[in-house]
């Protein structure tokens, strides 16, 4: 393929509010090559492609496309340079036809700016044919399936004379046949000299389609190899890294079952979920994005309905009860998305702390503001929430402190089972340790925590057991003391250790 690179990246670094997410990344791409990027959740893949597509500004580093250096990259400049990104969410106008979408912004215009439809559809037909796609250019995009819409996006990229197509988890919502079609399409792109940056956590696909693979871990590039030089074991090892010395949590005082899920199922989302949570235990859930982990914990928290199965708290069925009653029984949900569903951002620290426990701070219908103040000051102190005062609106707090306010809300209520989705995501190191300390303290008091986390270190350090999910099922439940990060990750991405 020659020495010339279509894309050359050097020393790219990026930090978010002091947290380094990419350091000194180097990456290159040859014409007609498929170069895969793999890594655990949070390794920096998304950040890197967002920098390439112009969505994020890099802190430092060099990007060269076709030997031209780009010191500033906006989405517009990136597109003009020939970089097109195809995200998991479609970027099409649903009510327009396939042809209009492909040629959008460059429609052939007649006198007075009228649309020359014939020409437009002729163009579109040609492009589709070029890619061996059997799609009607006059079909309305919203009537197409997800895979066909993706094909339209690729056709659109080709029309825009894309030199580099970035695909972020392109197979996430595709069936097996559709994946085959996509791979044929990628082969067509390669033939035309278009290069593809392919992001996926499905290792099988990477071995099928990629020419080269780069592994990111914790914002660093740890490996770059031709695909024929490696196998899955090497890849998984590179993704996980060296085994760290892990301070396993001791199993003390874990006794009776507090909460139990039996054969829980929701059609098409998850099935056959069996789980027992003991008093004083932290159970972690591992799984890639889309494994159904969030859906399961929401169902276990009584927020979303299930089609089948039993949810028993102390032997009592919680299904069919209102959320108010479930909370009263002692189950709470601390969501991943603090701002959209976790907090009332226009309310004060005190208001958020007490919102689930209004009866505690009132006499009859009347609020006792003095009691509220006292109570929230206690939580601000014990959780070390950094706020100007308890009256400060929570939207002004940092991520870690907002997370603590969410926990304070449920501590205030008095809860037995804490179900937490990504409890330390987007939180700085200090606050993270603080939150871990709080979690340990809770289990010391005999409470139970079920935690979803994308962070393997967090899972290994905090939980007694790790439940690994894939494709809406529990594939394995591991004792943290007897497992390795590598084993957990292998189950999560669908490859058991030792088998080739």
């Amino acid at each position: 393929m020659g020495e010339n690179n279509i894309l050359k990246i050097k020393n790219i670094s990026k930090s978010f509010s002091g947290v380094r997410v990419l350091s000194d990344i180097e990456f290159d791409l040859k014409p007609g090559e498929v170069h895969a990027i793999v890594g655990e959740n949070g390794a920096g893949k998304s950040t890197l492609i967002k920098i390439l597509s112009g969505a994020y500004e890099r802190d430092s580093g060099n990007i060269m496309v076709d030997d031209a250096s780009y010191s500033v990259l906006t989405p517009r400049i990136a597109q003009d340079a020939g970089i097109v990104t195809i995200y998991q969410e479609r970027n099409l106008v649903p009510h327009l036809s396939v042809g209009e979408n492909i040629l959008i912004g460059n429609e052939p215009k007649g006198l007075m700016g009228t649309m020359r439809w014939k020409e437009l559809f002729a163009h579109a037909t040609e492009i589709l044919k070029n890619l061996n796609l059997h799609l009607d250019p006059q079909a309305i995009v919203s009537t197409l399936g997800s895979a066909e819409q993706q094909a339209v996006e690729i056709a659109k990229a080709l029309y825009k004379k894309a030199k580099i197509v970035i695909m972020d988890e392109p197979t996430a919502s595709l069936t097996r046949d559709e994946i085959d079609n996509l791979f044929n399409l990628i082969e067509e792109l390669k033939k035309k000299g278009v290069s593809v940056i392919y992001i996926s956590h499905r290792l099988d696909e990477i071995f099928r389609i990629a020419d080269r693979v780069t592994v990111l871990r914790d914002g660093l590039k740890v490996m770059e190899r031709g695909i024929t030089d490696i196998n899955k074991d090497i890849l998984v090892k590179a993704m996980v890294g060296e085994e760290l010395t892990i301070t396993h949590v001791e199993k003390v005082g874990i006794t009776d079952v507090l909460y139990e899920a039996r054969a829980v199922r929701r059609e098409g989302v998850f099935e056959n979920i069996h789980l027992e949570l003991h008093r004083g235990e932290i159970v972690g859930i591992s799984g890639m994005v889309g494994s159904g982990r969030t859906e399961v914990v929401r169902a276990l928290a009584g927020i979303d309905e299930i089609d089948d199965g039993e949810l028993l708290l102390n032997g009592e069925e919680i299904q069919g009860k209102s959320l108010e009653e479930i909370i009263k029984l002692g189950i709470c949900f601390v969501p991943e998305d603090r701002d959209a569903i976790g907090l009332i951002s226009s309310m004060s620290v005190a208001g958020n702390t007490t919102i689930a426990s209004l009866p505690k701070i009132s006499r009859g219908p009347l609020l006792k503001l003095a009691i509220e103040r006292e109570l929230s000051e206690i939580f601000v102190k014990t959780l070390d929430i950094q706020a100007k005062s308890i009256n400060q609106e929570v939207r002004y707090l940092s991520g870690g402190n907002r997370q603590k306010v969410m926990v304070a809300k449920w501590l205030c209520r008095g809860i037995e089972v804490f179900i937490m989705d990504e409890p330390t995501q987007g939180v700085d190191v200090g606050a993270r340790e603080e939150i871990h300390r709080i979690m340990k303290h809770l289990t010391d008091e005999g409470k139970t925590i079920l935690m979803v986390s994308s962070d393997l270190d967090e899972l290994m350090n905090m939980s007694h057991r790790i439940v690994v999910m894939r494709g809406g099922r529990i594939v394995q439940i591991l004792n943290t003391a007897e497992t390795t990060r590598e084993e957990v990750l292998s189950f999560a991405i669908g490859k058991s250790v030792g088998q080739q």
């Binding site: 959209a340 569903i341 907090l343 009332i344 208001g351 919102i355 009132s362 219908p365």
Partner: protein, 279 residues
Amino acid sequence: MPSENQSASSKVFRSIINIQQWGIIIVLILLVIILGISSPVFLSARNIRNILQQVSTLGILSMGMTVLMISGGIDLSVGSSISVVAVIVGKLLKAGVPAGYPIIITEGYPITDLGDKFEWIGGATVGKVPFIVILFFTVMLICFFILKYTRLGRKAYAIGGNEYTTYLAGINVRMYKVIFYMFCGFLTGLASLVLSSRISSAIPTMGAGFELQSIGAVVIGGTPLTGGRGSVWGTLTGVLLLGIIANGLNLLHVEASWQYVVTGVVIIIAVILHEHRAQ
């Protein structure tokens, strides 16, 4: 001890400043100064009483709207509701007849001369203060109390701030939303009685435009359309501002249709000020 008292009082003072919208207060003061200079009667006791009397209907209505809008709701039917209530009450007072829509009931004609007892509401005074002004301020204080010191009020802020989070906290959001609409409806009814009593008749179109005026007053007062924040004090400034503009333009013999233009401009300025403040 004295220093503690002082800090407490300055705290109260600061919180009042915070609650009230500085920008709007400045506009209000400027307006009073300008009108005071250009019209000799503007600052007379009689005119001030007149203004307060005139804004009472809008005021009572807007207090209900404030509570509703803080909870994230909005009621566009208050104008017609005022007419319906007034006409039904009028008919009932005249001799009990089945209900219906105001214009159908009255065939477009006003019902007049509703009787002394009913007119008492609109005409009575306590000392020199009109009864309906006292009623307005009472309603305002009750709303203030509800919003600040009751669970119901706290839930209004919570639901308006983030409905889903509030639901996840185990609060029956749907039921409380109905309650807030009912509360607004109740005060709409009261406002209607005050208005028809004051003009001693029930006119089928008497409520027209009240929905936008009351929403305007609430928004001028700093409650965003999205809810979650706001106070009765803010709404009070909004109501006064609209009332003073109407009164002032009357005194200056400005054509009635211009009042809409001026009101509109004031609302736009208010929204810009709030946006500015929010950033």
